[in-house]
């Protein structure tokens, strides 16, 4: 059984928001659109986004980490948003595991957003239906698009290729390999939702310097006669012993 998912690599995400607006741009005119903008040129502009980057700080100066954390629907394998839906609008596709909302059935009761522990759903204040990431289900199977374009808009856009897309049930997929090899993790596993989307942690590269690397036979100072030498007049063992 296929379970499509995103794997988001926090090791390379620089928080540029390319995924945020490329998603908005594709989906606002796609089958899950429109994505409303309220007061787009006024006070406190707000609107529907399927994907947002949250930036936060961890630790105290100077040991501070700044984390860019892109977040969208995690397409849980056991999604709490589906069974709570009184109209069946919220559903999980059998063929690929994508969790979707059927706007024709949604009555905007928001049960699903209460049930989702990740805050991944947003009510569209104009249309009064619940909206969320579709993994660009209207792109990934579209034969009108070239094969390389049949990916979620955010994955295609991401300049650091921090967003990987594939089937986490296929052990040989790019996402499964990334999770396996880089310590990929799911958010809040204690909820038992089995999120399909995973995150890859920061990985640090350090350089260990050995003392002897600072002093070498080929030191150019030797050639230029500048290697520090003690003066002949400085004290030595000769001053004290005749052996």
């Amino acid at each position: 059984m296929t379970q499509l998912a995103l794997v988001i690599d926090l090791n390379v995400c620089v928080g540029c928001s390319a995924c945020v607006t490329s998603c908005k741009e594709w989906n606002t005119s796609g089958s899950a659109g429109p994505l409303v903008d309220e007061r787009p040129y006024g006070a406190d502009p707000t609107g529907t986004f399927f994907n947002r980057v949250q930036t936060f700080e961890v630790g105290e100066f100077p040991a501070t980490e700044t984390v860019h954390f892109p977040k969208s629907c995690l397409h849980c394998e056991d999604p709490p948003c589906v069974p709570v839906c009184p109209t069946g609008a919220s559903y999980k596709r059998k063929e690929d595991g994508i969790v979707l909302v059927d706007y024709d059935k949604c009555i905007g009761c928001k049960y699903c957003s209460w049930a989702c522990p990740y805050g991944a759903r947003e009510i569209d204040e104009k249309q009064k239906v619940m909206k969320k990431c579709t993994l660009c289900v209207d792109r990934i199977y579209d034969k009108n698009l070239a094969e390389i374009d049949r990916k979620p808009a955010c994955v295609k856009a991401c300049p650091t290729s921090a967003r990987l897309f594939g089937d986490i049930h296929d052990p040989e997929s790019v996402v499964s390999i990334a999770i396996r090899e880089n310590g990929g993790y799911a958010l809040m596993p204690e909820w038992g939702t089995h999120p399909a989307n995973h995150y890859l942690p920061r990985r640090k590269t350090n350089l260990k310097i050995h003392e002897d690397e600072l002093e070498r036979a080929d030191n150019p100072l030797k050639k230029d006669g500048k290697l520090p030498k003690p003066s002949k007049n400085e004290p030595s063992l000769d001053d004290i012993s005749s052996w």
Partner: protein
């Protein structure tokens, strides 16, 4: 809660959706062009449905962005349909005041007749009374040509307050610079040191490269007062106090030399480290390299007539003599008794006192960290050498059977450059990069065509006011690269010719002009008043100016006769900005989706490390309303004014329009050099030089709007000294000379200015009031001083530094009003280190005043641990004037956002 509901509603309703979410979308028409949401210039595909933009994505076949696109690029659709668009030429309503923002619509014919009448009068009386200054427009080759043809020296783009220190500091040292003309080779680097960078000109390519670099296990160190964006994913963040980067570099140089971690072979052959400097204090040429003879041919290059002191024969020899190996240290006496030292000895003496402990007190970085950084750089450069089996020949004819590289790459932005000590700071950084042996080598810094160029590049401004003549083009370029005081653009008294005082004794190496001085100087009438200011795409009334409040006042100020001190202001922009409100006439520009454009080799092309690349924009939509591309405006004006480049000998129209101009313009008749390098020649068979090709635009259109010439592998590195490359470059007229471009660790150019200030030599001398300053700052070796404005402020009263960054979602964009991007950043906060905030009693979210000796501004504070305690910072250019950009008067940008430019000045206190 979730668990409970799960059982309650399980399987109650059908889960079959009422509509098929995978139903194929209607097919779109795809048109390719080049993005212009910022200065990066990615290839894009615009998907059109019924003639409207459905969406824009990255062009996967484009060399620059390889299919990716950023937040701005994806929001281009909201630029296109922005309610702030200008769609009709506007004239200030008769009887209303400038700045009131009351306009009436006019037709283009009135625009052209008004402008050509006024400009014609100025041109036939005193052409310098017309000033043309432009923003980050990427069309400086055309705007510069127009100014020169008009005959005014008063032309520049916004580089004077943005890029000038970076460009000048690096180009005067290594013959190339970061941003459009070079960058870090992250493909091969092992250690990447990024300094003062929030975002980059080359933003998507840098992101692509940085991600690969990290994934391949490269080590990434970020030096920055603030940890945002790229710094967030650095393996190590080194917080530094603003304006002190020069001290850090000098200490790193100190440590690297002291331990012998420099690349001696590189320094000897490819820099002036071994060249002997005349130290005879009585001599007119003290501080200059000693020379053997005057070369037969003088040109814009370093003649190979300097001396080394050879270790093998213990005698002075001509540099690069076969079998010779120079001393880099020591002092010697020439046969005539002249005392000399190798320039590297002088560098070592200079950095002697710049110890890590010294730098620590200035930068706030612990001395042991500075030492470790030096060790990491030196050891990685030395022990992780790259050797590629590529044979090449150097400028002295020596054959090399491999290209080697020291894989330490640097990258830097305005964070270290845009300070009043930025030039010497960038010199120090370039020297650090050079002593590590990383210039144009794999894994280090790599040039991009048309760089490297001679040090300094050959372009010169005129050096006399006689170059400005009524009804004549300017005799020289409006901007250039002075090589000595005789190249300055001053009159016989040594006073400036340009309105911004560029290339005068006040600002000798202001190679990008000084846009931020124009309005102030024109208002003061110092050095002279002007008649007309034409501003293209620069927000001089707001975030593209320093001292914004005063500058706004100057534009509305009148003389005793009730006339505006700046008599006529014309502004061309695509949007209602803060600046358009000060225009007497507004020219509505198109968006990037509505016009032709070139990213020309004559300007700042999108070249790659492996060879020259230029590109074009091709309109995908018709212009909105009655807007017109500024290029078309210039060509029309040039034709009406009968500027020689735009008309035939008989004074008739030469070019139908801009596309026709681009195809057929040649730098001189028959030169075969024009704006685009690709598909030249009658059938498009030639590159760089060839007859105009009537099908050139079609050929660009068929090739993703881009022309990429990949150099042979043996020409891709060591280009300062690569005989094959330099000959190729000369044959293709990219450069006039093919002489090697030795790195200037020691800058004779600066020494020439210093000597003039000391009254020595035969070049021009500065007016007395400038002599001391020129003597002090034109030091041939880098040195550290506190930024001048910091030296002059009362540190008891103003103990903190303030810096700005642009967020990635708005970097280099005009689109802060963009409906989607402003939902990411609608207003800005002042970020304050939590401990600093507590000390001053500032709570997170408080409204506070932030104050400098120039002014104060109200803002909201936010606590942060990602900023060093002596610094406060904010996102720049989010705050807007109420009502500008067609945002509602209560928009967050004006009610909660703020502009830090109110706290700075274009002049010292």
């Amino acid at each position: 809660m979730g668990i409970f509901l799960k059982t309650k509603f399980k399987d109650r309703m059908s889960s079959i959706p009422l509509h098929d979410p995978t139903a194929p979308q209607e097919k779109c028409e795809i048109r390719k062009t080049t993005c212009y949401m910022c200065a990066c210039r990615c290839g894009i595909r615009v998907h059109l449905k019924d003639g409207n933009v459905r969406y824009i994505d990255g062009n996967p076949d484009h060399p620059l962005n390889q299919g990716v696109i950023c937040a701005k690029g994806s929001s281009g659709i909201m630029k296109q349909y922005s309610p702030a668009r200008l769609t009709k030429p506007l004239k200030r309503k008769p009887g209303t005041e400038r700045g009131a923002g009351e306009y009436e619509e006019i037709e283009w014919e009135e625009v052209f007749s008004t402008l050509s009448e006024r400009l014609g009068r100025i041109r036939s009386t005193d052409p310098k009374k017309f000033a043309l200054f432009t923003g980050r427009d990427q069309m400086q080759a055309l705007t510069g040509l127009f100014a020169r043809q008009f005959g005014t020296p008063n032309y520049a783009a916004h580089g004077g307050f943005c890029s000038v220190n970076m460009a000048a500091g690096m180009i005067y040292t290594i013959g190339g610079s970061f941003w459009e003309f070079g960058g870090p080779d992250l493909e091969r680097a092992k250690l990447f040191v990024m300094i003062g960078t929030a975002e980059d000109h080359h933003s998507n390519p840098l992101k692509i490269a940085l991600s690969k670099f990290k994934r391949e296990g490269g080590r990434f160190i970020s030096i920055n007062p603030v940890r945002t964006g790229y710094s967030a994913i650095a393996d190590e963040w080194v917080p530094i106090r603003p304006g002190t980067d020069g001290a850090l570099f000098l200490a790193l140089i100190h440590e690297i030399i002291a331990l012998g971690l420099y690349d001696r072979d590189f320094l000897v052959r490819y820099t002036n480290a071994g060249q002997l400097v005349n130290l005879d204090a009585e001599h007119d040429e003290v501080g200059m390299f000693v020379r053997t003879e005057v070369p037969e041919e003088e040109g814009c290059y370093d003649p190979q007539n300097k001396l080394w002191w050879d270790r093998n024969t213990d005698k002075p020899v001509i540099t690069h003599s076969e079998g010779a190996d120079p001393y880099l240290f020591g002092e010697f006496k020439l046969a005539d008794g002249t005392p000399v030292k190798p320039s590297f000895q002088l560098l070592q003496e200079r950095v002697e006192e710049y110890t890590p402990e010294w730098a620590s007190g200035i930068t706030g970085i612990p001395a042991e960290t500075i030492r470790r950084l030096a060790h990491e750089m030196g050891i990685t450069a030395r022990d992780q050498k790259i050797e590629l089996p590529i044979a090449w020949t150097d400028s002295w004819g020596k054959e090399h059977d491999s290209v080697t590289g020291n894989p330490v790459a640097f990258h830097a932005m305005r964070g270290l450059a845009a300070h009043s000590n930025g030039f010497q700071t960038i010199r120090a950084m370039s020297i650090l990069m050079s002593i590590l042996g990383t210039i144009d080598r794999p894994g280090g810094f790599r040039h991009k065509a048309p760089f490297p160029r001679p040090i300094p590049p050959c372009a010169r401004t005129p050096n006399t006011p006689l170059a400005v003549k009524p009804d004549h083009p300017l005799d020289g370029l409006p901007l250039g690269w002075p090589a000595d005081p005789d190249d300055l653009f001053v009159d016989e008294k040594g006073e400036p010719v340009r309105i911004d005082k560029g290339f005068s004794w006040e600002y000798p190496l202001s190679v990008h002009g000084l846009m931020h001085n124009v309005i102030t100087n024109a208002w003061k009438g110092d050095p002279y008043p002007i008649d007309m200011l034409l501003i293209f795409m620069a927000n001089m009334a707001w975030n593209s100016t320093m001292n914004a409040v005063e500058v706004r006042n100057m534009m509305t100020d009148k003389n005793e006769n009730g006339e505006y001190k700046i008599p006529f202001i014309a502004v061309c922009d695509a949007f209602h900005s803060e600046m358009t409100a000060f225009a007497d006439i507004i020219l509505p520009d198109t968006t990037y989706l509505e016009r032709y454009d070139v990213m020309s080799m004559l300007d700042r092309p999108i070249s790659e490390f492996d060879g020259p690349v230029d590109s074009v924009r091709i309109p995908v939509l018709p212009p909105t309303g009655d807007c017109r591309p500024f290029q078309e405006v210039l060509i029309e004006l040039g034709t009406r004014l009968r500027l020689p480049a735009f008309v035939t000998r008989e004074g008739k129209r030469k070019y139908r329009d801009y596309p026709d101009f681009i195809v057929n313009f040649e730098t001189e008749p028959g030169s075969g050099i024009g704006f685009l390098s690709g598909w030249r020649g009658k059938a498009g068979e030639k590159f760089m030089r060839g007859e105009p090709n009537p099908k050139q635009w079609e050929m660009y259109a068929q090739n993703d709007c881009v022309h990429h010439y990949e150099l042979p592998r043996s020409y891709q590195c060591m280009r300062n000294w690569n005989k094959g490359y330099l000959d190729w470059s000369q044959r293709n007229r990219i450069t006039r000379y093919s002489e090697p471009i030795l790195i200037h660790l020691y800058s004779e150019v600066l020494q020439k200015f210093r000597l003039a200030a000391q009254g020595k030599g035969i070049t021009r001398k500065p007016p007395q009031r400038h002599a001391k300053r020129v003597e002090e700052f034109f030091d041939p070796l880098p040195f550290f001083y506190e930024p001048l404005e910091t030296q002059m402020s009362d540190k008891g009263k103003f103990p903190l530094s303030a810096v700005t960054q642009r967020p990635m979602a708005m970097y280099h964009s005009w689109d802060s009003q963009n409906a989607w991007l402003r939902q990411i950043h609608a207003h800005n906060h002042l970020y304050v280190n939590a401990s600093t905030a507590k000390f001053y009693g500032v709570e997170d979210g408080d409204w506070i005043w932030v104050e400098s000796q120039w002014g104060k501004v109200r803002c909201m504070a936010r606590h942060s641990e990602a900023v060093e305690p002596g610094t406060v910072w904010t996102w720049n250019a989010i705050g807007k004037a109420a009502g500008a950009w067609n945002l509602s008067p209560d928009a967050n940008e004006s009610q909660k956002g703020f502009l830090l430019n109110h706290l700075i000045s274009e002049e010292l206190p």
